[in-house]
């Protein structure tokens, strides 16, 4: 326990300084600084998951802008969808979208989610995220950098 305490003291705050915020526009007006995020892996290679993980980790700390991961779409405002939508996940993604109470926002994270990326035309892929649910925001990249994910979330929290 003492060792852990020493470690805490040594490390201090590792979160990087926050770049200036863009202010509240669009959906951010209604959400007013609080965004609960449900992440849906619609068929990703898990590259984007790693980056989402670091976006919510101590260094990028998306939580300081009011974004928080939650366990149920009922609690969520934002669906963070990664990967091309596979046939197996097609219906599940649709249902997850339906389960989110209004107002809701869908963010497609990564090139696969935007346009199927390298998986375009594969037999198991049903289409991009936009083909299944209405997408409000894209985060390009393969995988996108955590900064980009955080920036997208900040446009929603407006902080």
């Amino acid at each position: 326990m003492l060792r852990l305490w020493r470690k805490v003291r040594q490390v201090g705050t590792v979160a990087e300084p926050a770049p200036p915020s863009g202010g509240r526009v669009g959906p951010a007006v209604e959400l007013a600084g609080s965004v609960q995020v449900r992440h849906v892996d619609a068929g990703s290679c898990n590259g984007c998951e790693v980056e989402i993980g670091s976006a919510f980790g101590p260094v990028y700390d998306a939580e300081r802008y009011g974004a928080r991961l939650v366990a149920s779409p009922r609690h969520a405002d934002v669906l963070l969808v990664t990967g091309p939508v596979t046939r197996n996940m097609h219906r599940a993604l649709r249902r997850t979208y339906d389960a989110v109470p209004a107002p809701k926002v869908v963010v497609a994270v990564g090139d696969c989610a935007r346009n199927c990326g390298v998986f375009a035309g594969a037999y198991g892929v049903a289409g991009a995220v936009a083909d299944v649910v209405p997408v409000d925001l894209d985060v390009p990249g393969c995988p996108p950098r955590p900064e980009a994910i955080v920036a997208a979330l900040r446009t929603l929290t407006g902080r």
Binding site: P73, R74, M89, A92, R95, T96, A99
Partner: protein
């Protein structure tokens, strides 16, 4: 003629008339006639009880009605409490029975027994002499036994349950008989006043013997460990309204017996009596609720909950005895008031719960919680009734049992003031017991209500359930109304119960109750059930309105499908069952319950690495039964086998037995002289 007498005579006359009518009236009208008869019988019994509670007592002796002793009746405030309870239960059950009997229970015999059973129960607390008491007690046992047997043609288990009940209730009867006869042997005649006089001159050993013997008999009637084994068998197998009568009314007469003999006839006695009563109560309370918490059979669960509640009552009675032995009569009165109030409350909510369970049983044909579920939209009234009963059974605020458990806890908390090492050690244990019981009771009733009535149906029977006929609903309604009244306005019954139990110890009201608050006499402590209920209801309404106003400014409420992780419709097999709900608790109490697991894995013939089917069975046997009854039963069986060898037909051998007995008796005389 006194009002009490009028009520009692009225009850008996109506019961006999209804029983006769049951034998004569054709089937279609039979259940209605009997139902009305039972209600009238209960009502006049209740009236007699209320008069006895509020006014002076009444006693009478009618010689010649029974051989040897005649009939001796005497009713005081203590009897009044039990008379009113039994009468009230009889009213609710009578109404309920009209509709319930249509389900194949309108045979002549069964219908005739119902009012007779109520009348027999009413006579037990009214008896004023040993002979009368024993006759009424036996009458009650017989009528209830016949009622338990009502459905023996339909289910095999009924016969076995009835056998257990018959044997145990008669063993109990024998114990009471011997105890009371030993006591009466020292008295001029067998009436209670004579016994009181005689008890003062008894040696402590004899008094202890009398008390222990009667305690065995009364505890077995009250379903107290380890003599509870008949209860979880007979209650589920009996028709539900009979279960309600047995569980809410008959069982409490065990408590009546202990209080009457221990405090009234024997005059308090020594400390170890009440330590024993308290310990038995504590063990029963915890064990009963533990079995209920993991049980899945709705009626068996309720039966075990009866064991628990009678355990709590005995904790109160035992604590009262301890305090009285220590000389603190006020505290003793408080403890006994708590116990008697709990008897009343338990009668109210257990009637309600058993009647609701009967309604479910007849709508679905199943008592297994794992098969029920989803009854809320199909049986709204029954669901509401059971919900109310469950709230009461879990002893939470807004339910009646909370008031009596609060009083009990107050008596125990202040009990340390009574002094003495035994008290100091027992009080924390008793509080811990009551606390553990309260926690497990919440678990039990959340499970029973949540799994049994909410969510979605888990079987076709449950999905096809329909609400019960109006008379059954009316019966439940009466019980529910009493529950609500007892919960918010205990002031209606507390003063008389307090006075009745105060009189046992010669103190005036141990509990002062006004409309707003229940206060303890001589100690700090007050509770206001009405204010608590009002505050919670008021706050709920305020928040509901506020939430609606806020939501209305933004978006309207919509219905949506359940969140199924996007995987397609949820099936009934994905729901939590009663077994799975109770699994963590069962694991925690593994050491006490010793569940039996069987896992059978069948492999494919081609390869033993491929599993064809896995079957898993879990059984939680009643451990007390296993450990205690099995050895006794096998010992009895061994004796039975040895019997023929003792009686081989030789006349000389039989004469020899006689000679040996005579010599033995003479020797005993010499030794004891």
């Amino acid at each position: 003629m006194n009002l009490v007498a009028a009520g009692l005579v009225g009850a008996v006359v109506v019961a006999v008339a209804a029983a006769t009518a049951a034998l004569l009236v054709p089937r279609p009208a039979r259940s209605a006639v009997v139902g009305v008869g039972t209600v009238l019988c209960g009502a006049s019994g209740m009236a007699a009880g209320i008069v006895a509670l509020t006014g002076p007592g009444w006693s009478a002796a009618v010689a010649g009605l029974l051989p040897l002793t005649g009939v001796v009746l005497s009713v005081d405030a203590l009897s009044g409490v039990f008379l009113s309870v039994i009468g009230a239960v009889g009213i609710a059950v009578g109404i309920y029975g009209i509709g319930y009997a249509r389900h194949g229970l309108d045979g002549r015999g069964v219908q005739a027994m119902e009012p007779l059973f109520v009348a027999a129960m009413l006579l037990v607390p009214a008896a004023g002499g040993v002979g009368t008491f024993l006759v009424c007690w036996e009458l009650m046992a017989l009528t209830s036994l016949l009622l338990v047997l009502a459905e023996h043609t339909r289910r095999v288990e009924v016969a076995s349950a009835a056998r257990w009940y018959a044997v145990m209730t008669h063993l109990g009867f024998v114990a009471i008989l011997i105890g009371l006869v030993v006591l009466a042997g020292h008295a001029d005649n067998d009436s209670f006043p004579a016994l009181r006089v005689a008890a003062a001159g008894l040696s402590p050993a004899t008094a202890g013997l009398v008390f222990t013997l009667t305690l065995v008999g009364f505890a077995s009637k009250a379903g107290i460990l380890p003599l509870h084994a008949w209860l979880p068998r007979a209650h589920p197998e009996a028709p539900s309204h009979v279960s309600a009568l047995m569980s809410a009314a008959m069982v409490t007469l065990g408590v009546y017996g202990i209080v009457r003999v221990g405090f009234d006839l024997l005059g308090g006695g020594s400390r170890w009596w009440w330590l024993l009563v308290l310990a038995l109560g504590a063990v029963s309370a915890v064990y009963g609720i533990l079995q209920a918490a993991i049980g899945t059979d709705l009626k068996r669960l309720l039966a075990y909950s009866t064991t628990e509640n009678m355990g709590l009552v005995l904790i109160g009675v035992g604590a009262g005895g301890l305090f009285a032995a220590a000389g603190n009569m006020l505290l003793a009165g408080l403890a006994l008031t708590a116990a008697l109030l709990h008897v009343v409350n338990h009668a109210a909510f257990k009637t309600l719960l058993f009647l609701a369970a009967g309604s479910v049983l007849h709508a679905t044909g199943s008592r297994d919680l794992d098969d029920l579920g989803g009854l809320r939209p199909r049986m709204p009234v029954t669901t509401a009734a059971f919900g109310l009963g469950a709230l009461a059974g879990s002893a939470l605020p807004l339910g009646p049992a909370f008031v009596s458990e609060w009083l009990l806890l107050q008596a125990l908390v202040h009990g340390l003031a009574a002094g003495g090492m035994a008290t100091a050690i027992m009080m924390p244990i008793a509080v811990a017991t009551v606390a553990l019981t309260a926690g497990l009771a919440v678990a039990t009733f959340v499970k029973a209500f949540g799994v049994g009535f909410l969510a979605r149906p888990r079987s076709e029977h449950a999905a096809a359930a329909r609400e019960s006929p109006p008379s059954m609903l009316a019966g439940m309604g009466v019980a529910a109304a009493v529950c609500v009244v007892l919960a918010v306005a205990p002031v209606l019954v507390l003063p008389v119960i307090g006075a009745a139990s105060g009189r046992v110890f010669g103190v005036a009201d141990p509990v002062l109750s006004g409309l707003l608050a229940v206060r303890l006499q001589g100690f700090t402590g007050s509770l206001s059930p009405l204010l608590v209920a009002a505050a919670v209801v008021f706050a709920t309404v305020v928040f509901a309105v506020a939430a609606r106003l806020i939501a209305a400014r933004h978006r309207a409420r919509v219905a949506a499908r359940l969140w199924d992780c996007g995987a397609g419709p949820l099936s009934a097999r994905m729901e939590y069952t009663a077994t799975s709900f109770a699994e963590p608790l069962q694991r925690v109490f593994d050491n006490v319950l010793r569940p039996e697991h069987d896992v059978d894995i069948t492999h494919y013939r081609e390869s033993r690495y491929l599993v064809d089917a896995v079957s898993y069975r879990l059984r939680v046997p009643d451990r007390v039964e296993h450990r205690l009854y099995r050895p006794v039963l096998s010992a009895v069986r061994a004796w039975g086998r040895a019997g023929p060898r003792l009686a081989n037909g030789s006349v000389h051998l039989y004469l020899g037995y006689g000679f040996a007995v005579v010599c033995g008796a003479l020797l005993l005389l010499v030794v004891t002289r």
